[in-house]
Symmetry: C2
Amino acid sequence: MQSLLELRHLKTLAAIRDAGSLTRAAERLFLTQSALSHQLRQLEAHYGLPLFARKTAPLKLTPAGDKLVQLADAVLPMIANAEREVAKLREGEAGSLRIAVECHTCFDWLMPAMDTFRERWPEVELDIVSGFHADPVQLLFEDRADLAIVSVPEAETGIAHLPLFAYDMVALLARDHPLAAKAYLEAADFADETLITYPVPDDMLDLVRQVLRPAGINPKRRTTELTVAILQLVASRRGVAALPGWSVQHYLERDYVAARPITATGLRAELNAAVLQDRAGTAYLQDFVAIVREVCVAELPGIQLTGA
Amino acid sequence: MQSLLELRHLKTLAAIRDAGSLTRAAERLFLTQSALSHQLRQLEAHYGLPLFARKTAPLKLTPAGDKLVQLADAVLPMIANAEREVAKLREGEAGSLRIAVECHTCFDWLMPAMDTFRERWPEVELDIVSGFHADPVQLLFEDRADLAIVSVPEAETGIAHLPLFAYDMVALLARDHPLAAKAYLEAADFADETLITYPVPDDMLDLVRQVLRPAGINPKRRTTELTVAILQLVASRRGVAALPGWSVQHYLERDYVAARPITATGLRAELNAAVLQDRAGTAYLQDFVAIVREVCVAELPGIQLTGA
DNA sequence: GAAAATAATGAGTTTGAATCATATTAGGCT
DNA sequence: AGCCTAATATGATTCAAACTCATTATTTTC
């Protein structure tokens, strides 16, 4: 009759509620579906009551399950808070988090993440390193930034890369564009198109670096700073573009433009947070990464959290 | 950097704070001192901070330890509450807890325990079965009581015994009584004394049942209902008595009377809660037992929790 | 200072949580 | 219907880590 319940169980229950299924909850927790099924089974046996109504999708909470999930919602933030407090005792309250961003679309999720961070670490000086920088990692060494959002984690001594998430790039076409007839686009398809991109070096454009350049294809270019402007140009048949799937979901649902996978296997991209190796253990840096992952998994469709 | 913390750790930290030492905390948790030492070590390594200031007795909390213990104080009651709520969903809110008591001194701790119970289970009808009963277990079968506090757990079919705690009986003597010169009393020492007891059958008097009767000794008797009256009579040299150590600590500190162990090894007694076997799983009955144990371990000196 | 109590440590054992591989069940589709 | 696909359940196995045991080190007490 000992209380079997551990925090692990509360995390699991909350994750199932959030994810709506064991399988997806398992992914988020970096466990197997089997593990969650066993856990749930054990809990239900212990309490002598079902906690979720199965045979329904999404899984629905029973009253008993609801009680425990409510408990989780109350308790887990308190745990996280206390652990932050302990980290502050260890490292002191102060510090700065100057964020360097090389990816234009990242501002979508960066703002809500920064809002949450500001609440949790009010003493940490929070800033975005303004202006555009070809090599944001360099800013870390120059002590002009504390964390850089980068897509290619090229191993560099003294730099640690903390995984954020991965996603697929999609090609954007006018709805009546001839290429929209294809199930997916290949490098050759871009040869005679105008490619609309952000005004950044080619190295930072996943499509160019991973698809076009290897195939020796170099289409005409047009650049603009704003995501909406890119969408606008594509819609008015001035060219094609490649953007993260999550950044254009909104427009796709409204049928502004068409989207197609790039190559048969898709064009996978990922984002990482780069920090100085020495500071990788700092609690508030790690917590910022955790916040970004939380925000993004909740708000961005079709992304996968990376790393352990 | 995963959060290592589990409820187990919070329970441990709170227990160490309450007990003041690893050894005593380990007893309460039914673990070894080694287990707690390892746990603590791991937590401190994880947080990179000491949680208790060692080399001091009682162990004192560091600021970091304090944060986590505060967390435990906030979280653990919430957990217990939620689990009670789930039990109520399973078993329904209603029910009755009519308590039969054969031990006069038990009222000392029974009242605070009942107060706590009433808070936690407001829907359960709570009562003490009034009047004195030679065989309280019989009341369970007759459905006149739901739980009986008994000292001798004689195996009876249909009855389950839930362990409460164990303690030593002490012999009480006037401060200047000749026997007070002895380090401990034996059966023979009672032969020429007047024994002051509660007015109950001999079977319920641990001293008679376990020490005097086996030795064939049957001293003069005098009975009274009230513990204070027994103390009064002992102090005024009208006789000697045997009471649980925990029930007279208060008077001993004030030097009203002297206390001595009974036999060289002490006279050990224990209390159990008897319930109908069928109802032994009922949540509120189990919780009442848990409450009694909590209250008693906190308030009664020199007792040991029994059972697992 | 010696003895007793308490905590720390390291090796060894055991438990149980997670995984892997597979069976079962539910839901969607023609 | 009936098949196919996706999701969950189950049982056996693996493996990590929590605990105990035996011992040493440290601290408290008299």
